[in-house]
Symmetry: C5
Subunit: 275 residues, 5 copies
């Protein structure tokens, strides 16, 4: 346990998330003997195993496409102490100066404030749309089904288990606050409606895109981090392009840079980035 000596910093709900994109300094790496290189890779492999065997802790490892970076990690873990300890150990795992930060991002898993509540679902859908009567068996069954779906959704948002789909995309984003396009001046209902349109677009990519939104207001330079997993690069491009026409993105989205990686087994990953 890398942070055993310190008091855990575990949030009331959700996990801490770190996206870590590193350059490999091959000039530094080439100073090592073959034996030292083998040891360094064994050290990183062991560290990754330790991380992955830590309770409620997940680590994705991937090769970054384009020279923006070489080696990428996505770390999810409850305790900020653990996140910090593992992050520093990962950076040093191949020896001093071999991995150098290209970009990184700190965020936390969070539930959406725009999800439909039990009351909204009852009024808008069960009673309003389907004409059901509260108290009937059908009504109760539908409500139960709704509760299960929302619990599952919430579990995925707060404590996600990410699939091993090969293509990973990360980008940070904020909501715009400029002149007439000021997201934070809109009332809740307007924001909820705008977000609902966005969610509809997202659902059409079900099975092709796994999307995880994590919050970073107060933690890093943008307000959210977006992680997309896919099997085909074209689905990444399509969903982000299509969503840009949703009013919520068209008028209010501010995007940082986009990073594309490929999840690989460790040995293939080492070969890919020339280690």
């Amino acid at each position: 346990m890398p942070a055993q000596e310190t008091t855990p910093i575990v949030p009331r709900e959700g996990w801490h998330v770190l996206h870590l994109f590193h350059h490999v300094d091959h000039a530094q790496w080439s100073l090592y003997s073959d034996e030292e290189k083998r040891q360094a890779k064994t050290r990183l492999t062991g560290l990754i195993q330790e991380i992955r065997s830590t309770l409620d802790t997940h680590l994705l490892a991937f090769s970054i496409v384009s020279p923006k970076a070489d080696l990428g990690f996505m770390l999810l873990t409850p305790d900020l102490q653990v996140a910090n300890a593992f992050e520093k150990q990962l950076a040093l795992s191949l020896g001093p100066g071999v991995l150098n930060p290209a970009y990184s991002y700190l965020s936390m898993t969070e539930s959406s404030e725009y999800t439909t509540t039990r009351a909204q679902y009852t009024e808008e859908t069960l009673v309003g749309e389907k004409g059901m009567k509260p108290g009937t068996d059908a009504f109760e069954a539908a409500l139960k089904e709704f509760d299960d779906r929302m619990a599952h959704y919430l579990q995925h948002r707060l404590y996600p288990v990410l699939p091993d789909w090969p293509v990973i995309c990360f980008y940070p984003m904020s909501k715009r606050r400029s002149g007439a396009d000021n997201w934070y001046s809109l009332d809740y209902d307007t924001r909820r409606k705008l977000m609902a349109g966005h969610a509809r677009t997202g659902r059409t990519y079900s099975g092709r895109i796994l999307q995880l939104i994590t919050g970073s207001t107060g933690l890093d330079e943008y307000e959210w981090g977006v992680t997309l997993l896919a099997k085909d690069t074209i689905d990444i491009k399509s969903i982000v392009y299509e969503m840009r026409f949703d009013e919520v993105s068209a008028r209010f989205g501010e995007f940082g840079d986009f990073y594309i990686g490929i999840q690989l087994p460790l040995d293939a990953l080492f070969r890919r980035i020339g280690l």
Copy 2:
């Protein structure tokens, strides 16, 4: 096959495209003996041959004009695994620390969403403009001619074969989303009309400029990459300048930096950049 061990990531349509602009670190290079330099150049030459002999894979190599960078590559290939493997190998081909990334760009070939459809051509041009009657021989011949032209156009957009014209220009661009100038808030017909004006300007440069637009929304920091090939630098300058007056650029274009390169045979390229 450099990525044989991994599952291919081949998009439903189109190719992955990487623009790679590197600095040569001559201080690092000067540490090599003449023999080591010869070997390094042979290694890069061999790698380029391997890339160019890979199925459906193309590589342009060029000297960059101005100290923004020295050595440029444009790589087109279907499989993201192959793109990633070749990109990392190119960066290391002259030895660790010799090539250092100055800028890079990841995009994908794509068909335009604003091309004329069969139905539009029939209604607007054949019937509307030329007064032809559906079903007649002339009508069917004209439709056949249209189909052939569009198939050829689509083939070039998705699976381009680029000429060896010496001057290459690359720049990334996005469509603006600010205040009254918000491209993504326009309806499809308005966007189609604006793009048509742009295309007309482009066609007047036929034979002098080869233009390839590739999509990068969700993949890199802008939404498209533009690659221009020409025989005379002045045609690059003229087409980009002239297009800036098209409403679609004037009001909606946001441009990144521009890179100018010269396609050269490898031995001339090595001499040009001092290797």
Copy 3:
């Protein structure tokens, strides 16, 4: 006393504040023998003790989360000579080239210009709201209670004693001056009302968030520095997110980057950042 030879530069009121975020250059550090490393850490430990035993001088030391930086300090001290001397000594304490600046910020503690005055409290609250009569015992007692509270508040703003809560967040900010959203064109009463709403949001986090606003107009690139201390990262994220909906942030806030650190005892801190 590190700046004994120079004339002190002590402001009429308040302290100088320096936020210092450093990278550790592990390649440089790895050149040291174990003995040299031990000596370097002893030197830094001794310097920190010297700083903390200097009159009216406080130093927080923390590990930075994410590779944005490794080692963070927050230094509060009256004399600019002392601040400057300690800051340069901290940067050199582990040996030349080991600590490298990632970001830093110079500000001063200051009282708020928007706090309620005695006259405002009398008119708005005691007489206006509670219907008290000046001169009565109850009135005088309430006024005394107000005076005590304000004196305590002012003391905390100008000469803060910060708790050892583990999570520290720093970010710089300015008030916007663009088009219709120009903070500095508003009259005093409008600004005071907007700030009062902000303060109300802040008070709901009492006991969970300790907030210190320091002024930097004319001193550094933004107009204020904000330091937040918390026990749970989620409270940092919540308060900054919630405040973003206050009109004063939504329309007028411009934010720099956010830095998250963890206050640690020195030995745990050294281990955390791989020293």
Copy 4:
């Protein structure tokens, strides 16, 4: 001939222009023996002579004022192959790693699209203003004088010979495209009128400022490069300041950074920058 092996890339009209601003890495330079330093300076001197003796090719060499850079070159030459070859050779001339790019700019000489045409001059000036009659001797003489002046002007714009005035200023600029201030949405006549006011300001500096505007749309990050030569720094400051009040600059000018250099003989230049 440095680019003899390659096919020339010579534009239909005008020259290629490269502004090259380099830092001197004195730590790298100090590793050389006195003899090696002498040889390096001889090599650069010889290269400069070769460049200056190349047909239609000009090179200005100058010391940069302020640590933004140390050594500056401005290269004008028809063939892009030659420009590229000389630029790479200049960067390497003092040995690997000694000169490092601080900033550079690629543009082309071009005629202005807003110069008065023969027809405009006849109608607006000769007939309209001076009341001359076409066909008369005075009219023909005036027209001849106009033709000569314009031919001389065009020659200077496309194939300039720059004086050896000591102060050189370079900055890149673009025309703004934002909201109501969108240069590229104005019609030609409006733009011509705005540019005419600008030209009038320029003419009042005749004999004190030599101005060369070169085009870079599609070639580099701004749309034009501006080179000013002067004998007194104050004239640089005055003309740029005064022009900022012209509507064409006030509303439509976007400026990059400004570089000030001093043209010096090579031996004085070497001493100035510590070689």
Copy 5:
């Protein structure tokens, strides 16, 4: 005389001003023996003496607060050749690679275009406000007093002698040109009135703040450089904060980064920055 071999470049009026902020590379410095360090400091001390004994030439030397930089200089001198020669010598004075530029700024002293003229003073103040009659003794005396005051003011603006107050602040600024807030589209009288309000704020800091405005349009990235000298940091913060509410700053001011330094005797300065 460092620039004796070249033709002086002395402006018709005013001096050249260079602000130079350097990092000390302590890893490089630590490679020197104690004797080499002593010699380097002696060399820099001698150079500073030479500069300060040059006609009409002034040099302030200061420690920079915060790791933005370590060693700062402000150089005022008539001849651009001398400015350039001294600036390059200062950068090299401690040996190659020891001082590295963090930021620098080139400007010129200048008189304000918004000062009250003799005619304005006569009309607005002597006749308009005080009801004096031209030609009377009192009138002539008042005019003489005005002339003396303006001459003294002009002398300070063009040929300033700066006090040795310990706190020095530098920042660059421009006047905004965006949408409705376009300084350069205002007529002269409006600008003069706006500047007069600004000057009134400034005068309330007389004796506490010495302010020098120098012009840099066409010379560096902003349009003016502002140098403030003070005895108490709080006066720097107060004047800049207070002026931000003047319409001329609120609507039209664009500010670069702010640098705070402390003027110190050379031996104290060396110790402060760890030399």
